[in-house]
Amino acid sequence: MLELDEKFFGRFGVEYSPNQIIFCEYEPGYEFYFIQKGKVRIVKIINDREKIIDVLGPGDVFGEMAILEEQPRSATVIAIDNVRVLKFHRDNFDALLAGNPQLAYKLLLIFSKRIYDQKRRLMILLLEEPSVKVMDVLIMLAEQNQQYDFEGELTLNTTARQVASWAGMAESEAQKELTHLARVDKIDLFEDRIVVKNIRDFQRVVTSRRKNLYS
């Protein structure tokens, strides 16, 4: 977690109360934020529904795209509880980096991870069959837990709804696929978790389908 001088809070600290908007999708943005305390949710309005993209907590950064690119905000950020952030204008970025090189390093880490996550998601979305997409979501979730042993049974703390969101499909459709996998004894379905019997099976299927995509 990033250790920034308390003196920064005096100059850059801002507090938000629960349910307050920090910034809004499509608003021009010139600042980026470090969360010191509390949680925020990142949402987008899609088809007139508020969809949660992510939840961030202390040590996380958001709004970082504004540092380098002149683009409107790509999502809305809303305080979940009492939130305390450090807010930096892009014009201060150089000075800030010079004074806090760890921050620069932290940003690199964040970008690296986000790029990978997005690419990984794209790989799932590009698969054609819903059943294979669902398998690949489970593989991805397993990959995120680096301590997992892929040889044995593994437990993923996820739900049909989350799987659907990753796979870009309706919840009912994801539920159907998961139910099928459970029926053929590939997974056990629980309310708050999914136990995968043998993730290697899924990897084989997905790898072969992915190869066929371009051939």
Binding site: N19, Q20, I21, C24, E25, Y26, E27, P28, I45, I46, D48, E50, E64, M65, I67, L68, E69, Q71, P72, S74, T76, I78, F93, D94, L97, A98, P101, Q102, A104, Y105, L107, L108, L109, F111, S112, K113, R114, I115, Y116, Q118, K119, R121, L122, M123, L125, L126, E143, Q146, G168, L213, Y214
Partner: protein, 401 residues
């Protein structure tokens, strides 16, 4: 880039054609090409094509996967005798801490990549890229306004005013903020009334229900809403004052979907379908006065008792409204569409009625209201040809400002 490369960082020599790492390898080392050549080969995930990129001398490679602790996405192979510097993450961090410009450059590259991937993801998901940030910002305000989440709506509208003052929407945004700050359109606290769905809600809902219970919908004038709720300044145009009254009441329209049409039965004219078909046939031949006479006759008969006739009764409002519109009798036209918009939101003519309301305001020179209604059309499912027409209208009105 050589300053800062010191300390425990080891150079490593490779023969021509050596693999530094394979795609899929996991490792926490970062490399800098010192002398020689390195080729990175990877498969583009969206097209499956193989891409080769050469690293330039002094450049980093293997950074993202090392930092993100994920498998290598590319294979790195040398061409000719090559020397690279191998950095552990610790080395890399120490070096970075002394070279803020390098970080800045990397961040720029990363952030570009992130945008590009995000764009591809949205395309694959079928989310449109073709948007105006200003319109979208306004629509976010509308979303929260409709949802009764007034703090968020106010934030979005205020931002809209800050960045896009002087637009047609800015006026609407201003109205919304005033409405909210004067206690909000719905019972306070937001979301108090489930019926207050769409769009504007500047009046109080009791009025709406009183209006509903009135027996004959023909040529109604809406009762005035409580003055305190009116935020709309009077507009001086020929017939705008009545329209305004209508609108400020109408502003709490929509989504009275639960309202039971069939229970309001009164006297039933016989042979309703036959007469309706006759009217429709005249209408199709663009004999609007003739069609109007028939539709008006159906309306004068009041709500039909026979269950299946309800549709003809509602549709007669619509066609009579279109007839009046074609005859440029906008006030009469608006009253009929208002009946559908307010009380018959479950009708399949509902969306058409909203669109015509937009056209009437456009004809009356009230661009902001026209835009409001066209915008509303966009929010009514299903997505059909009216959406395209409404979008074209909005664009034309915005250009024509």
């Amino acid at each position: 880039m050589t300053n800062g490369i010191q300390g425990g960082i080891r150079p490593r020599s490779y023969k021509a054609g050596s693999i530094i790492y394979f795609e899929g390898d996991k490792s926490e080392y970062v490399y800098i090409l010192k002398t020689g050549r390195v080729l990175l080969t990877y498969i583009k995930i969206d097209t499956g094509e193989e891409v080769k990129e050469e690293v330039r001398q002094g450049e980093f490679f293997g950074v993202k996967s090392a930092l993100g602790k994920y498998p290598r996405e590319e294979t790195a192979q040398t061409i000719g005798e090559t020397v690279v510097l191998v950095l552990s993450l610790g080395d890399f961090e120490r070096m970075i801490l002394r070279n803020v410009n390098v970080v800045r450059k990397m961040l720029r590259v990363f952030s570009n990549q992130l945008r590009r991937i995000g764009k591809t993801v949205r395309t694959v998901l079928g989310e449109s890229e073709n948007v105006n940030p200003d319109l979208e910002l306004f629509r976010i305000g509308e979303h929260y306004f409709k949802a009764g989440d007034f703090n968020k709506a106010t934030y979005a509208f205020k931002k809209y005013l800050e960045y896009y003052p002087g637009t047609e929407y800015a006026r609407i945004a201003m109205e919304r903020i005033k409405t909210i700050s004067s206690g909000g359109p719905a019972p306070s606290g937001g979301g108090g009334s489930d019926d207050l769905g769409d769009f504007s809600m500047e009046s109080d809902s009791d009025d709406m229900f009183t209006f509903d219970e009135a027996p004959a919908p023909k040529a109604q004038t809406a009762p005035k809403p409580a003055a305190s709720n009116k935020s709309e300044p009077a507009i001086a145009s020929e017939f705008s004052s009545e329209m305004d009254d209508f609108l400020s009441d109408d502003n709490s329209i929509d989504d009275f979907g639960d309202f039971d049409l069939d229970s309001e039965a009164s006297s039933a004219p016989s042979g309703l379908k036959g007469r309706f078909d006759e009217g429709e046939s005249l209408f199709k031949r663009q004999n609007f006065p003739g069609a109007l006479e028939i539709f008006q006759g159906i309306l004068d008969g009041g709500e039909p008792a026979k269950e299946g006739d309800g549709k003809y009764f509602v549709d007669s409002h619509y066609y009579a409204g279109v007839c009046y519109y074609e005859m440029k009798k906008f006030k009469e036209s608006m009253n009929l569409f208002a009946e559908i918009i307010k009380n018959r939101s479950d009708s399949e003519k509902y969306k058409g009625a909203v669109f015509y309301a937009g056209q009437i305001f456009e004809a009356a020179g009230q661009k902001d209201k026209a835009i409001t209604y066209y915008n509303k059309v966009l929010n009514i499912t299903p997505n059909d040809s009216l959406n395209g027409m409404a979008m074209d209208k909005i664009k034309a009105l915005q250009r024509g400002r």
